[in-house]
Assembly symmetry: C2
Homo-oligomer: 635 residues x 2
């Protein structure tokens, strides 16, 4: 009874029907039974303006991705053009606009959220990696016609993506214009570029001086026959020079570029970001400062006498094209990336330490929540604030490592749902609250998720919860041969859920920075490769282990521990590797039913809980300690 | 006391010591305590002749691989130059020879065997994929000097390998000569090229006519914008045309090339192979016959009017270079390969059927062995003959699908050990016999391994056996999301062994042909990719599942079942997949100790054994049936 959905109250039925039939995105509307779809006039107006500008420039397709000038995952407001033009606020999304159509591509973490946010905008949602859903390139290939132009701001598009689109468009005899930033013209109240002071990481806390890091990197440059390294990835540059910034929410990075030669280091950064302390440091370290805006002019004028190394996956298409014009290019992953991922023993020492304190903050929060639910009003938002307040009390706290996710019941089915001060659910004494949170401290960066029972839950939820826990603990308990990467290991977390016919539409694990970004590579744990090659897990890498169950409209469960990679036995068969937990927070026994666990799952859970109590109880007060004893009892 | 090994009896101590110090292959000799290393004069003489010929041709490095003109895994005697010049008989090995050195590269299946066979030849063994062992290309890169020449017979070298070597050599300003077959000059009693009659597969048994297969392949050619397909891989061509041959031991293939255009099919084959029946078939199917020897002349003269598709990994370097000179080349996996791997429903029907009968033959053999051991003399070789005799009784038996491996005690630690009529161990009523065997029938090709207890075994052996079984059954019981390839699944078989710090140095699983080669791609189950991309497992693929433990000098265990890939549940999260056993032969309970099994391992073993009895008992006589009941009882 498809028509009946709109027949009574919808004051905008015609346009909806038109969209409905034109784009055949049937699924989207049939699911919204009895809900009224209003036109989102804010977005449609902005798209209208954009289309006018496209016409004026003779452009048939305009592409906006989620990118700053540095291929960062999270970007400052200045770069949120994609959000401005379609309303979707997730951290990953590609918008393609033509005169009579617009499409947004995003990944499984955001399907539910995107569906909601795109409502009434006329923008069609394309669910990445789902059966029968074309990729953006496939869409372009099928629709762009000879002579038509695809335009975008090449400085905000990753080189790999740009190259692929250019290839697709060229095949159809189309044109690419990559220096067109239409946001400049259409987005009148666009925020300013962020500009905040940089700060210095103490050398004794990194375990390696900038000089030592530069020496490692230059060795890799020589190995690759490169005379120069062009670094655009912000956390790589922060790591290399032992500096930090504050230009992206929750990421302690400064907007900057690095150009490394065998003798010199050039840092392109906004002058206003340089404190007196930083100035002295740069001088002492012989780091030459240039204006942030001058990077392209500098490269254009530079007298290249050798090949320049750059990472196609971590540089903008604009900069990539410029480098190609000027010099021979060696395309390699930034050598900084691998070194950054393998923590030094000094870093690991501090990381182990801060993870205990951070886990204790999570324990305190869980205890507080369980004891206050039903007694006072708690909302998703106030719960997040409470979680943050426990973290802020830790003495070397710098900032949150990402905005705390506090998602109640069906909201937890949206992987990266964010409650706000004005848009939240009130918690009732039933169901579960998912809290995914972390902090940046001087001792490291944390990330942890617990799903907490705050009232009655169904047997199905218990099954999903138990299997999620089984997967998390199974991966953490895996011994593997050196050389394995995440593609080999992912199934260890997923298998208990796959047995039920459940799959979470995201990776299982990501690396985490040291006083840096909460997501970093090159290692990851996922079934499919993101880059050309999987990276073997090395001793000193840390990686998240976060299986989950996301049932749209019902509930979401995620249990995330951070694991340290360590060496296990070495013998004639090779070097074996293992994980050790860094996170020690209880797993909610109220959501566990032993009938859903295998013998070994129970053994692992009990062993983990014994460790949680032993390691965390010293950080708790008496009441909390008594509660934790019970919460971690053997089952 | 390293020196003492050679001080007393070795009449060739000086040369051994020289080798020992020059190549630092210390490990090789320290392990052979008290064993005398004699010079293998047969091989050293042959190498001397080869080196003379190299000098005459001005060649510093000569490379011989294990290849026929078609990149076949197993090759006929004509192509066994590598074996001729170094004595190593394994199915995979690369020999590189210079004036004062020779090296052989082989993989983990053959480490023990190669060590033994190379003894006294002066050829250094390079263990592939082991820590600190250079690859052949790395060796070349480190040793070849500017102006030096690497030569080989390009028609026997895979294009990918040839290209890589050419690149390495070019980097060092060396030269490559790829049309030099020195075996022609040096190997005076070289056997003739095989030439045996082809035979026809009944169309009703394949489930697809040659015309239907050609239509599928031509669609893939069009998709890739290719006008021609050059097919060199023998089993692909046999599959495409529904023919079989007899030119390679145990592989029912005929030496041939195929050249497919949009309208024509050219088959290059030795005239003497064409029977009257085959001639009529080729005429009826409009397949144009050309002489096998004329393939290069034909391609040189052909008027190419479009791109030619070929598979760089399945064509010789010689033919690849010729195609490159003549036409634009589209490098893609042979489209035949994927279609061949996904069996038709008609093929699967017959495969399921023949696997039951073949499994029954294995049961009969195990019963016979357990009842005759200690009562009469049984050798590895006579046991193999007995196994073969049970298989030969099956009515549509064609030939063995590979020479039966029958390996007792420490011989089983050599993955592909082959006892012969003159070189075998006598079985005693103790330890275990590993039997890896299979047959080609008109209903399909089989492959199965069982390790059979024939007397007392140690607790360690029981642990290894139990964990091997746990791994085999765990992989078979895995539910996975569609899209997974072997690289995602391999750990399911390996994990119980990795927990013990044991790794088997080979893949876990391979595809198997239908009345064709016992090893086929593109799917495989292994931790590292062999080709550029992993192939998702599809319904209708069949794959082996064969974990093992190989303890040099002590024992070897391998348990191999063949699995069928099937669809499992389909829901909003996607299409899930599962395996089903095709092999039903008992797993030796005498080698199982429950203390080494998890609850779920026991459950899986009992369920599997119940199926074995239900499915196989109808094929057995009364005595065998009573035994099988006991051998498959629940534990």
């Amino acid at each position: 009874m498809r028509q009946s959905i709109y027949s009574q109250k919808n004051n905008n039925f015609d346009s909806v029907k038109k969209m409905y039939y034109r784009f055949s995105d049937k699924w989207c509307y049939t699911r919204h039974e009895r809900r009224i779809v209003m036109t989102n006039t804010v977005i449609t107006t902005r798209l209208e303006e954009l289309r006018k500008a496209m016409k004026a420039h003779g452009v048939e397709y305009y592409y906006i991705t989620t990118g700053d000038y540095h291929c960062s995952e999270y970007v400052s407001d200045f770069f949120k053009s994609r959000e401005y033009f379609c309303g979707f606020t997730g951290s990953n999304g590609d918008l393609l606009v033509s005169q009579d159509w617009a499409g947004l591509w995003t990944d499984g973490r955001y399907f539910v959220q995107a569906e909601k946010e795109l409502e009434g905008t006329g923008v069609t949602l394309y669910r990445m990696a789902q059966e029968n859903v074309p990729t953006l390139n496939e869409y372009l290939k099928d629709h762009i016609k000879a002579g038509e132009t695809l335009a975008f701001d090449g400085m905000t598009v990753e080189a790999g993506k740009g190259l692929q689109m250019a290839k697709t468009v060229a095949k159809k005899d189309g044109k690419v214009q990559y220096d067109l930033d239409l946001s400049k013209e259409v987005w009148t109240d666009r925020p300013a570029l962020p500009c905040n002071p940089v700060w210095l990481l103490k050398e004794e806390n990194c375990g390696r001086t900038a000089e030592e890091k530069l020496a490692l990197v230059r060795d890799k440059m020589k190995e690759a026959d490169a005379a120069y390294l062009l670094l655009s990835k912000l956390d790589d540059l922060m790591w290399l020079l032992n500096i930090r910034g504050n230009d992206v929410e929750c990421n302690p990075v400064a907007m900057s570029y690095g150009f490394i030669t065998m003798d010199d280091v050039y840092l392109f950064i906004q002058e206003a970001e340089i404190t007196a302390e930083a100035k002295a440091y740069f001088e002492k370290k012989n780091i030459q400062i240039r204006s942030y805006q001058d990077v392209t002019a500098f490269l254009k004028a530079y007298d290249f006498r050798g090949a320049v190394m750059l990472d196609e996956e971590n540089i903008s298409y604009g900069l990539y094209q410029l480098a190609k014009e000027k010099a021979q290019v060696v395309e390699k992953a930034n050598p900084t990336e691998w070194y950054k991922a393998v923590k030094t023993p000094r870093e690991m020492e501090q990381i182990r330490d801060i993870y205990l304190e951070d886990s204790a903050a999570v324990c305190k929060f869980i205890y507080w929540l369980k004891n206050h639910i039903g007694k006072e009003e708690i909302t998703e938002y106030s719960a997040a604030m409470k979680m943050d307040s426990f973290r802020e009390k830790i003495h070397d706290f710098v900032e949150l490592s990402f905005p705390t996710i506090s998602a109640y019941q069906e909201n937890a089915a949206m992987m990266h749902y964010e409650a706000t001060e004005t848009d939240f659910k009130v918690l009732e004494p039933k169901g579960m609250l998912l809290v995914d949170s972390g902090g940046t401290y001087h001792r490291g960066t944390t990330d942890v998720t617990r799903t907490i029972v705050i009232g009655e839950i169904s047997d199905t939820m218990k099954e999903h919860y138990s299997k999620t826990v089984a997967g998390m603990l199974q991966l953490a308990d895996t011994t593997f041969l050196y050389g394995c990467g995440g593609i080999n290991l992912d199934i260890m977390a997923r298998q208990p859920l796959w047995d039920l016919g459940i799959d979470y539409k995201c990776g299982t694990g990501h690396g985490i920075g040291f006083v840096l970004n909460v997501h970093e590579g090159p290692q990851s744990i996922r079934p499919r490769l993101l880059s050309k090659k999987d990276t073997p897990l090395e001793e000193g890498m840390i990686v998240s282990d976060e299986p989950g169950v996301y049932i749209q409209g019902s509930h979401g469960i995620r249990i995330e521990n951070i694991l340290e990679v360590k060496k296990a036995m070495h013998n004639g068969d090779g070097q074996f590797m293992k994980f050790e937990h860094l996170t020690y927070a209880p797993i909610d026994l109220e959501a566990i039913d032993k009938k859903y666990l295998r013998e070994e799952d129970v053994r692992r859970l009990n062993a983990y809980h014994a460790d949680v109590y032993a390691k965390i109880s010293p950080y708790l007060d008496e009441e909390e300690r008594i509660w934790l004893k019970e919460a971690t009892k053997a089952i």
